[in-house]
Symmetry: C2
Subunit: 360 residues, 2 copies
Amino acid sequence: MDPRIREHAEIIANHSVDLQEGDNVVVDAHPVAEDLVVALHEVIGDYGANPVSTSQRTGKRQQRAFLRASDGEFETPEHELALIENTDVYIAIRASDNVTQTSDVAPEISAAYQQAHRPILEERLSTRWCLTQFPAPANAQLAEMSTEAYESFVWDAINKDWEAQREHQANMVEIMDDADEIRIKSGETTDVTMSIAGNPTINDHGEHNLPGGEVFTAPVPDSVEGEVLFDMPLYHQGREITDVSLEFEGGEVVSHSAAKNEDLLTEVLETDDGARRLGELGIGMNRDIDQFTYNMLFDEKMGDTVHMAVGRAYDDTVGEGNEQNESAVHVDMIVDMSEDSFIEVDGERVQEDGTFVFEE
Amino acid sequence: MDPRIREHAEIIANHSVDLQEGDNVVVDAHPVAEDLVVALHEVIGDYGANPVSTSQRTGKRQQRAFLRASDGEFETPEHELALIENTDVYIAIRASDNVTQTSDVAPEISAAYQQAHRPILEERLSTRWCLTQFPAPANAQLAEMSTEAYESFVWDAINKDWEAQREHQANMVEIMDDADEIRIKSGETTDVTMSIAGNPTINDHGEHNLPGGEVFTAPVPDSVEGEVLFDMPLYHQGREITDVSLEFEGGEVVSHSAAKNEDLLTEVLETDDGARRLGELGIGMNRDIDQFTYNMLFDEKMGDTVHMAVGRAYDDTVGEGNEQNESAVHVDMIVDMSEDSFIEVDGERVQEDGTFVFEE
């Protein structure tokens, strides 16, 4: 086994989820990630924790078969809920043998399925969870890279000094923690303002997301005004959505468009009320991620990007007394900030063309 | 997809587990069985049932890694137990990419793990469960067959008229249902008697086991006397055990030997008190299984065999007021009855050299 896989498993256990003796652990992965699953089971055995192995979230071919055969009426599966309710640590490994596997599932069916699974999502988010990536060939293909080059890209971004990364990001957390208004401007297509007053900014140094490398908070739901062109494509339910444009008034999306698969974007926004409002503002700060790979887990961490998510706001990004945006979805979208762009915090420019004020 | 796989999935759903709308289903399988998992998900979607996909029992490479890293102290994992407690239908698909994957796990570690998982086994056995086989290349190799020939062997044995099989087997159930003593004699090495008085004989026509094709009951625990040479090899925890010889007095194994991996047999028998007594007597009656493939699920159904299991007796084979043998294990072993052999029921010969009295 590639020694970088064992190192990856140890970072997940020791750093990301802080594994403890007796923990009930779920490892969810597609078979192409088997090496990492095996390495994790070694670590879990070593700690005296209890593994259950599933392919529920990542087994997209079987999920496609199930969803296409179903009538679109779903209930919350009590057995899956009971599993997660009794789980301390949930590790999801992204890896696929075909990233477009669910591309021919009707978006409204997927949305109904997600809606029924919302209580399970809530339970997963209350565990010590970690979402990470295994560098499978299909993911390399999506990144337009050889498998070997992609392996180096993934493990370089993951197997690193997370304490140093945490310290780097603390500069930005300090700026945002007492801030009120954020303005993000890029070219002629993006100029948006929002309040983050009273909402904590989280320093993501590789815990829930591995790789980590961003700081993020929740916008005050009604405060978002302006327009954003998300110029990086995203993959949602196995389909690519490009050039998403959203216009906000009073926090709500009042018009939207996309160059490709606009219908899928419409489905996302129509999931529920919260799906038309922002649940997250994130600022990428991981300089070891030096190229786009069409994978949100990495792209959103790049130092030259910001991202916003429509849908659910994470609990720990909402201050006491502030409103928390609720939704069955959480869909991230990215703005490239490398050129003709800036971020202002309470009127002060903290990033210009991708470079932070505290960077040399 | 091979149409025989869809037929297999439909037999599981329609016949074996009697799938219903709203059922909470667990499908446990190794990735090499993916086609059958996908076909099952189509059927599950069609019925409006709820699938959860695991590789807990069948992911032997990860299980090996976990067990080798652990210290041999296990607790019952509450999350796995909660999953199964809320499960209506449990479908386990046997298939492997290496049937000897757990051959270098210490038997006492495996035994301790099984002991801790006993409450989960109990819960699985209280669902509408089905154990079946997917014809993976490694399983074909074990059977000493080409993959294509093995596929035909497996699906011929599974995709058949189970009502006709049920009627054939009813002849033997009728003979055994009011019987007291069974005597099984084969060559000079096997001559054993046991009482089955008061214990129901089950007609296995492809429900819990697919393929089915046996009738089975539980011996009265203390009644077994004599000796048995199990002349067919068995695979247990990834290792082959050959020529198991057991001598019974008052129902208990008082001496044992094996030509190969006797230590593993000893571990099985020392699991707990019940592991030294018989929990099952089965008589194979499936004439479509025409060769040994070193796979208990098939071998024990052959018309020219009987099998006995040390360990746990199934609930429905124990009559009211009769003692039920309890154990964390249930390990089947086979006697070839095709030559120089007979079965007597209350002194009457009902099978000779593999041919039943009611067969032409």
